[in-house]
């Protein structure tokens, strides 16, 4: 199918009822924002996955280049003093 006859692509993020953050669930095609939300509801919350949906036009997302993974993300590997592992989380603190 020629590219210009497809509806725009949207990325869907769903937050579960007890979740804290919206998780990327998939993508869909829709002509406008309202239909993108409704289609996301129909496609990605069928099995009680969640209670809040964000849809973002895929064109609006800027992603890091996988080929640059080494250049961007190697630096913190050796810096153990930055890693958040030196304290114990008290009981009852949620979401950590």
């Amino acid at each position: 199918m020629p590219a210009d006859t497809q509806w725009p692509l949207w990325e869907v993020f769903v937050r579960s009822r007890r979740g804290l953050s919206h998780v990327h669930s998939g993508s869909l095609h829709a002509p406008d924002a309202e239909l993108a939300l409704q289609n996301a509801r129909d496609l990605y919350t069928r099995r009680n996955e969640g209670e809040s949906i964000w849809v973002v036009p895929s064109a609006a997302i800027v992603a890091s280049d996988p080929d640059e993974k080494d250049a961007l993300f190697t630096a913190p590997h050796d810096k153990a003093y930055r890693h958040p592992t030196f304290y114990t989380v008290p009981d009852g603190v949620q979401g950590m």
Partner: protein
């Protein structure tokens, strides 16, 4: 019944069962039609949407048929035990009480969406009225259905607006759908003796009481879609008979597909 208590007036069981079957058959048949539409929708996302809409309707039909089966099995003059499944899959067309609108074919996407706009607007008004029913179990079913029908209304209305206010072809097809389906709308608002009886007992709203709100809600959508719809009480001939078991030829084909398996292998389960 203790002395001093007054019995809650309820309709005779046969009337209640007949009413429940009528409430169940429209979503049953329309749900079946939407399921049959899977594979023919214009785009994948809409396919899922129609399947979900159909499943919602089948859920309503299931709850109502289970209630009807319960009443049938517990009434004094019943010998055979029925289930929701036997009620759905073994009744013939003359014993089905769905609206004729629900039998109209999935001619094209415009027809599917206009039919759904007409149906869901009516259904939301009906369920809203039924959520105040003096019949507690029916009111509970209605409260659940109201939440689902809100989405049905907004989804179908959104599509009718996009199609009407769209290309020349979508506008023409949607207008044709409105013109072809409007004659089946009058049946939704017909009253009979049973409706009056149930209304007096507080079990159900009078069908005719829903007409004005239906018309103003649908007209709002139709106008936004730059389409035309004549007045309901004008000169449009209205079909009827579905709620009395007198159906179009279409129901025969729908039931043949829907009931084939259970009729060939009675009691077959997964």
């Amino acid at each position: 019944m203790e002395a001093g208590m007054t019995a809650v007036d309820t309709a005779p069981t046969a009337v209640r069962i007949r009413h429940l079957l009528q409430l169940a058959d429209s979503p049953l048949i329309l749900g079946q039609q939407l399921g049959a539409y899977v594979g023919s929708a214009p785009i994948l996302e809409e396919e899922m949407a129609c399947a979900n809409l159909g499943l919602d309707l089948l859920g309503h039909a299931t709850m109502l048929l289970e209630y009807a089966a319960y009443l049938t099995n517990n009434s004094s003059d019943s010998d055979a035990q029925v289930t929701a499944d036997t009620l759905a899959f073994t009744r013939d067309a003359r014993a089905m009480y769905n609206l004729l609108l629900c039998e109209r074919p999935n001619s094209d996407f415009a027809h599917v969406m206009v039919r759904h706009l007409f149906y869901s607007t009516w259904s939301l008004l009906l369920w809203t009225g039924l959520s105040e029913s003096s019949d507690e179990r029916l009111a509970a079913i209605a409260a659940k259905a109201v939440k689902e029908m809100c989405y049905h209304c907004s989804h179908s209305a959104g599509w009718v607006i996009r199609l009407g206010d769209g290309t020349a072809e979508s506008h023409a097809r949607t207008q044709a759908a409105i013109d072809e389906l409007l004659p089946y709308v009058g049946e939704m608002f017909l009253d009979d003796a049973r409706d009056s009886q149930l209304n007096e007992l507080g079990t159900a709203p009078l069908p005719s009481s829903l007409a004005d709100e239906w018309e103003s809600a649908v007209r709002q959508t139709v106008q936004q879609a730059t389409l035309a719809m004549p007045a309901l009480n004008g000169n449009v001939y209205m079909h009827s008979g579905g709620t009395e078991g007198v159906h179009s030829e279409r129901l025969g084909f729908i039931l043949a597909e829907m009931q084939y398996l259970q009729r060939s292998y009675p009691g077959l389960t997964w």
